[in-house]
Symmetry: C2
Subunit: 239 residues, 2 copies
DNA sequence: ACCTGAACACCGTTCAAGT
DNA sequence: ACCTGAACACCGTTCAAGT
């Protein structure tokens, strides 16, 4: 496929653009280059196409962001599988925990996910299907619809595997630098400084490895919620 | 202060620009016109100044957003007051609940707050001071520093009054329209449709008034967490 | 030191035109 | 129906110049 002078030719038939190809390209760019790199122009150039061509397959940029969330939730659903909920009513908690931790595993592979999900205005159909499965597990555990509804709100973003915490890890300065700065404020925030100096983990070589273990804290929060829900489940009037 | 031809003159001395004036203007614009209206140019014109002048008082737009979060947290701290934590160890839960609900009341007056807080990379000093007070309450309740640390992660954004839920209320379509759409998918998501049709509240006149009561769900989630924390507090080994 | 005007390097998106 | 090129209406920010 070269001309006589050795120049590469364009292929005669190009793969037609589809919504799915657009979304897959967008996910790849967000994964590899970060959310800031995800522009309409960047997605287009990745597909060897002009930016304006994307608008035939996606309404606008918001719709593109909705779309990549759908792709990610489909990935979660595939990982979770479609086994029936456990028949033992007391097995609901472990089953739900497994689903959430699976979702988290997928989410962690897509660092852009939390901030994009948090800005979605409407809920896509794939996430409704994911929640349907959570709901099926709770119903098999004897939850009333009302309690299950509360449960979903209480779990919030944790239900799909991210934490809803306030701040991302700040990789601007080292933990030692942070700690030194905090020490200087001990008179103003004594409890805070004491707590954090105790929480600063060190490895065998004495190197500091961070204040918080994200996975541990995530599991602590999920278990706190699931334990509380289990207690309320058992307090329900029999129906 | 008019010329002979009746034209208004500029005042001879203008109020000097300060960081505080910039931030207060930014908060007002975000409150009244929404986050999308909050541009450097808009803030500048509100202060009768060129956009570039802002950069003498604020590093860049991110710093401006950091700044308006600080302003808001200062407002929360002022509302919360600085009373000592209760001396009765069992009073921690009510005290903490009050702080959180106060924070929420302030937050609800600033609709931009959740999305701006969620995008902050680093934690400002005012929010550290707020957490210091939460921590003081927990310590007075007998929490170990370790448990208090877990508690803060578990509460996450709820600690300062917003929910960390996945989706904002969708005011695009009416609840009746949503319900009709859902009914059409009953074969695919049976539990979901049953749950939501039961959750659709109606007022005395039979008008639908929404699926979810945000305040109720927020309190349910906070209480679930606080109850769970209280149980873990009592399970702590005596030290 | 503080403020300005013009310009730069981007965005998402519209539009009229091509095939 | 699908894709294109140029243009529009914005952004945040840099820079050299004013006072």
């Amino acid at each position: 496929m070269t001309t006589t002078d050795g120049q590469l030719q364009e292929p005669a038939f190009r793969l037609p653009l589809t919504r799915q190809r657009v979304l897959v390209a967008a996910v790849r760019i967000a994964d590899e280059e970060g959310l800031k790199a995800l522009t309409m122009r960047r997605v287009a150039s990745d597909l060897d196409v002009e930016a304006m061509s994307l608008y035939h397959h996606v309404d606008n940029k918001e719709a593109l962001l909705d779309g990549i969330c759908e792709v990610l939730v489909e990935e979660i659903i595939a990982e979770v599988g479609d086994a029936d909920p456990p028949s033992d009513p007391d097995a609901w908690q472990a089953a739900m925990r497994d689903m959430i931790m699976t979702a988290r595993r997928v989410m962690l592979a897509h660092p852009w996910a939390p901030s994009v999900f948090e800005t979605r205005k409407s809920i896509g159909f794939s996430i409704i299907r994911y929640f349907e499965r959570l709901l099926a597990v709770m119903r098999a555990g004897g939850f009333s619809y009302d309690l299950a509804h509360h449960a979903m709100h209480a779990l919030g973003s944790r239900a799909i595997g991210f934490s809803g915490e306030l701040f991302q890890p700040d990789d601007g300065q080292t933990d030692d630098e942070s700690m030194a700065m905090l020490e200087g404020m001990r008179d103003q925030i004594p409890h805070m400084v004491t707590m954090l100096s105790g929480a600063l983990h060190t490895d065998e070589a004495g190197q500091t490895i961070g204040f918080c273990d994200d996975q541990t804290e995530f599991e602590f929060g999920v278990d706190l919620l699931l334990d509380g829900l289990d207690r309320r489940r058992r307090e329900q009037p029999d129906t």
